[in-house]
């Protein structure tokens, strides 16, 4: 058993899954009849898409599940080659177990390129005799229509407060941790209904102390969200371009942030600056342009600098 709680406390059966009741019921029905359509799971991170897929495989294939289940992560392997090679190779061979088909689980499908999605569509058709696909994504709008039309689409919602708290309480009991109502609240707030995040926050707190206090939680959280980006903006607004960009480079290197990470944060922080709202909108507009150029261009830092230069004039 893994010591990483995300794994250690991952549900193994339908009954153990908290939240997403309706979806779980429907899927359970499919599995009982041993008849599964292609599935598309859409929804934010940490709400049970991967867990449910794993449960399906375990319930369908029993101990043998690993041989009948291919898990691929599209955000790490998102080219057309993956679809052409790995997926096809696995789909081509017959299932060995009692189940009449195998399952290919493609996580984070929204990061598959268009080419790859086109290739996937053909593969889904060609091998649908012996293979079922479960696709998961954050935004179903990024999945091409022909694929959506081949799947049953299920929309997952962030977990409700009760579900998250139940999970946290359960883990605290097992791990002999002390937690009070306020800290429970804090974990939920911080997680925003993302169970993976809740577990990770809890485990990092627990690695520091057996008593999970509110302060501890916020301490752990703040380590994860560099405040320094705001300092960069302040320097820029105060017309110190050179210092602002030195700070920017320092922050990016220290936390290993990509240009996109930074621009996302800048775009959020603009609203907290002490300037007129009209100017904020102008800056957001500039943000959008720079983010676009960043995607098109090759030097992220240069693009950020061109954004910072605009702040100096505010």
């Amino acid at each position: 058993m893994s010591k990483i709680w995300v794994e250690k406390y991952r549900p193994q059966k339908f009954e153990e899954i908290k939240g997403q009741d309706k979806i779980v019921d429907r899927i359970k029905g499919f599995v009982e009849k041993k008849n599964l359509p292609h599935l598309l799971f859409a929804g934010p991170a940490g709400v049970g898409k991967t867990t449910l897929s794993l449960v399906i495989a375990k319930e369908l294939f029993g101990n043998d599940w690993k041989n009948c289940f291919l898990e691929l992560n599209a955000s790490d392997e998102r080219g057309i080659d993956v679809i052409r090679n790995k997926v096809k190779d696995f789909a081509r061979t017959k299932a060995m177990s009692n189940a009449p088909f195998k399952i290919i689980y493609l996580d984070e499908c929204d990061s598959l390129t268009r080419d790859a999605q086109q290739a996937l569509r053909r593969t889904m058709e060609t091998y649908s005799d012996g293979t079922r696909f479960i696709l998961s994504c954050n935004y179903s709008s990024k999945i091409i229509d022909p694929i959506q039309s081949r799947c049953n689409v299920f929309r997952f919602k962030p977990l409700e407060r009760e579900a998250i708290e139940e999970i946290i309480k359960f883990i605290c009991e097992k791990e002999k941790l002390k937690i009070n109502k306020k800290s429970l609240d804090a974990v939920y707030e911080v997680s925003g209904g993302d169970c993976r995040k809740a577990k990770n926050v809890l485990q990092s707190c627990a690695s520091v102390s057996d008593e999970i206090t509110e302060e501890l939680i916020y301490e752990v959280i703040s380590a994860a969200k560099p405040k320094e980006v705001i300092d960069v903006l302040r320097l820029a607004v105060n017309k110190d371009f050179i210092k602002a960009r030195d700070k920017l480079l320092e922050v990016m290197l220290k936390h290993g942030l990509s240009g996109l990470d930074v621009i996302k944060q800048i775009q959020k922080e603009i609203w907290n600056l002490e300037i007129a709202d009209e100017k904020k909108v102008r800056l957001i507009e500039k943000c959008g342009e720079v983010e676009f150029r960043m995607v098109e261009g090759s030097n992220e830092f240069l693009q950020l600098e061109s954004l910072l230069a605009g702040f100096v004039l505010i």
Partner: protein, 383 residues
């Protein structure tokens, strides 16, 4: 430019390498009787100019494929096929010149070498390839079908004598001692030597004493950041390494430009970068024109008035710092990969929540054991 004026028009005008040139000429003129239908030129300086000089001398057309073109199977096929089918309109024959044949990109130029292999034997026209390293494994098949011709470095004496000739012809007032220095400094490189002589002709002796890239780039920077002379900027920027220029400009722009000027100049640089990205993705090199223009003239004209005065331009340390950070991030990446394999989560997402994992790992030895970290990774976690 002086180099262009002294570009060899005939083989006899080329200094040195007489044996190699003889072989080259023999190969092209007696092409129909040759068993091997291609040659590979390597070593020394002046391989390409020799080919052009020869072509000029015997009135041949040169069809050149160099590394700035995409050189995959289809493209090479197109170029070679179309030139094989058509006779040259005004010239007596054709030479197909393939530059940097050992530098084909494995990915983007896929199939190029294989195709070359198969066309060589059927070619109606002499194929001349140029290689830095003819012993490269990638071209071993090509090598066995080709004759190899080695170019030797020019000696100091050959360069020295030629420079003197140029000086006298151009009526430059440059001492023998200076010419000697140029010849020594440019070990074997006639083009570099003539360029140096060209600079000295402008009367600025200080440029020579220790002329390395820094001097060059300062000059270019000053021209772009302080001046507005469009023609001159275009001229120098063509001889400047754009990557390097971008870094230097980026670093020093805020020292000269303020406010609106800074915004406009960065806007230009940002657009240049967008085109750079497009070139890389589409391999469409014509976009280089825009990169060139935006970086040079675009930045220069972003200022209201010409500037003056001495500004100490600084070298950008960003690359160094990025490299250092990358080294330390590589451990973070390998750790994230191990975690993501255990947790049915992408590496990207794991990196997104990495701070939590770092806290856990730091305080929990068992976790590090489970993830099978190597010594360096453990050290990184505990840091």
């Amino acid at each position: 430019m002086l180099v262009n004026r002294y570009k060899p028009r005939k083989l006899s005008e080329i200094i040195g390498n007489k044996i190699a040139l003889g072989k080259l000429k023999d190969f092209v003129s007696n092409f129909n009787n040759k068993k091997k239908k291609a040659i590979i030129l390597y070593g020394g300086h002046g391989k390409t100019s020799s080919v052009y000089a020869l072509a000029n001398e015997i009135n041949y057309e040169v069809v050149e494929i160099n590394a700035s073109d995409v050189r995959n199977k289809d493209n090479i096929h197109d170029v070679i096929n179309s030139s094989m089918k058509q006779k040259s309109l005004f010239k007596e024959g054709k030479i197909i010149l393939i530059e940097e044949v050992d530098q084909f990109s494995g990915l983007k130029d896929r199939g190029g070498i294989t195709l070359l292999n198969s066309v060589i034997e059927e070619s109606y026209f002499p194929i001349i390839m140029v290689a830095d390293n003819p012993w490269d494994k990638k071209i071993s098949n090509l090598r066995s079908k080709s004759e190899l011709i080695e170019f030797k470095e020019l000696t100091f004496y050959e360069i020295f004598m030629f420079l003197k000739k140029v000086r006298d012809k151009e009526n430059f007032t440059v001492d023998d001692s200076v010419i000697r220095e140029i010849a020594i400094k440019n070990e074997g490189d006639m083009r570099g030597a003539i360029n140096d002589l060209d600079v000295l002709r402008d009367g600025d002796l200080s440029l020579l004493s220790d002329r390395d890239k820094k001097e060059d780039i300062f000059h270019v920077l000053k021209m772009i950041l302080q001046g507005k002379n469009v023609d001159r900027i275009f001229e120098v920027i063509n001889n400047t390494d754009l990557e390097e220029l971008e870094l230097w400009l980026d670093e020093n722009l805020p020292l000269e430009y303020k406010g609106e000027e800074l915004i406009d100049a960065y806007n230009m640089m940002s657009k240049a970068d967008v085109f750079k990205g497009r070139i890389r993705r589409m391999q469409y090199w014509r976009f280089l024109v825009y990169v060139n223009t935006f970086l040079g003239v675009g930045v220069a004209l972003s200022k209201k008035n010409v500037k003056s005065g001495f500004v100490r331009y600084k070298k950008s340390e960003r690359i160094l710092r990025l490299w250092r950070a990358k080294m330390s991030n590589s451990k973070r990446d390998s750790i994230a990969e191990k975690i993501s394999k255990k947790t049915h989560t992408s590496k990207k997402k794991t990196l997104g929540e990495f701070t939590y994992f770092k806290i856990m790992l730091k305080n929990n030895k068992e976790l590090c054991e489970e993830l099978d970290f190597n010594e360096e990774e453990i050290k990184w976690v505990l840091k």
